[in-house]
């Protein structure tokens, strides 16, 4: 990963392709839940990589590249949210098909719907922590760095979110 960071810092185009392959899907899923739209996530994803290119001098000294990409993506997502607020745009809630691959098994499909609905019901901060932990594959330390909160807060939010989901699923 350190080698990749050095190559990114040198501005090797292939290195950005490797970075995309390494975490593109996870970051896109995170952006989708953050922005509530796959199209908006596409835009933010592109902006994230352009931003990474512009600040590539810093990439060589980044300790955790994946967490850094999530941080840059989060900043882009926040800009997207601001733009949307200015434009007064409203979005339809995300469905299971936006978040998960279609399953042949009807039980699994129902499960996906329940999870998608459950995630919608969580607060933004709780949803973000669940997303980063489960689908982003980040540790609590990394989540704390990405979201700018203390480690304990990240862990507490995650536990609270799971409790909320548990209650939601029990209904």
């Amino acid at each position: 990963m350190n080698d990749l960071a050095q190559r990114l810092a040198r501005g090797e185009p292939a290195a950005f392709g490797e970075l995309y392959d390494c975490c593109g899907d996870r970051v896109h899923h995170y952006l989708t839940t953050f922005l509530g739209s796959r199209d908006a996530a596409d835009e933010a994803m592109q902006d994230t990589f352009v931003r990474l290119v512009r600040s590539r001098d810093r990439l060589g000294s980044v300790e955790n590249l994946v967490a850094y990409v999530f941080t840059v993506a989060r900043n882009e997502a926040l800009r997207g949210v601001e733009r949307r607020a200015r434009d007064n745009k409203r979005l339809e809630p995300l469905g299971a098909a936006d978040l998960f691959y279609d399953a042949d098994d009807p039980v699994r499909r129902e499960q996906a719907e329940a999870v998608a609905n459950g995630l919608q019901r969580l607060g933004d901060e709780q949803r973000e922590v669940v997303e980063l932990k489960i689908y982003g594959g980040l540790t609590f330390r990394e989540i704390a760095d990405v979201t700018g909160v203390p480690l304990q807060t990240a862990a507490t939010r995650y536990r609270a979110a799971l409790e909320c989901l548990k209650e939601w699923f029990a209904r």
Binding site: H28, Q46, F49, L99, F100, Q111
Partner: protein, 125 residues
């Protein structure tokens, strides 16, 4: 029980980015990689040039300020005490000597005034 919820969430396969997005993002990345080096270098050169020009102009303006002021508002006024001394010595020497002395004393007087202003700072009380 939380483990059950975690398990439930983990069982689902998250949808990744659309396939076409990869090439779109990497094209934008490649464009950006080509662009900024030239742009940033030009920007840095422009800033450096602007600074140098600014410094040069400041030096030129400072060096010629007295001449320009004299051209615009005429020579600095002659202090009355210097004029009186020059008029007093004129009958004992000659007009040319008196004028030369008056010019030199004026110059010394204004240099002294400038030195006083400089030593008292930009906003003399």
């Amino acid at each position: 029980m939380s483990d059950d919820v975690e398990g439930l969430l983990e069982e689902l396969v998250p949808r990744g980015a659309p396939t076409r997005l990869r090439s779109r993002v990497l094209d934008a990345t490649a464009n950006e990689l080509r662009r900024p080096a030239r742009l940033m270098n030009r920007l840095r050169a422009a800033v450096a040039a602007a600074l140098l020009v600014g410094l040069g102009l400041n030096y030129v303006v400072s060096a010629h300020q007295d001449e320009r002021l004299a051209q615009v508002i005429g020579p600095p006024p002659r202090p009355r005490a210097v004029t009186i001394v020059a008029e007093t010595i004129a009958p004992f020497t000659d007009a040319e000597t008196a004028e030369m002395l008056e010019r030199q004393w004026c110059q010394a007087f204004w240099q002294h005034q400038k030195a006083l202003l400089r030593s008292s700072g930009p906003y003399p009380m």
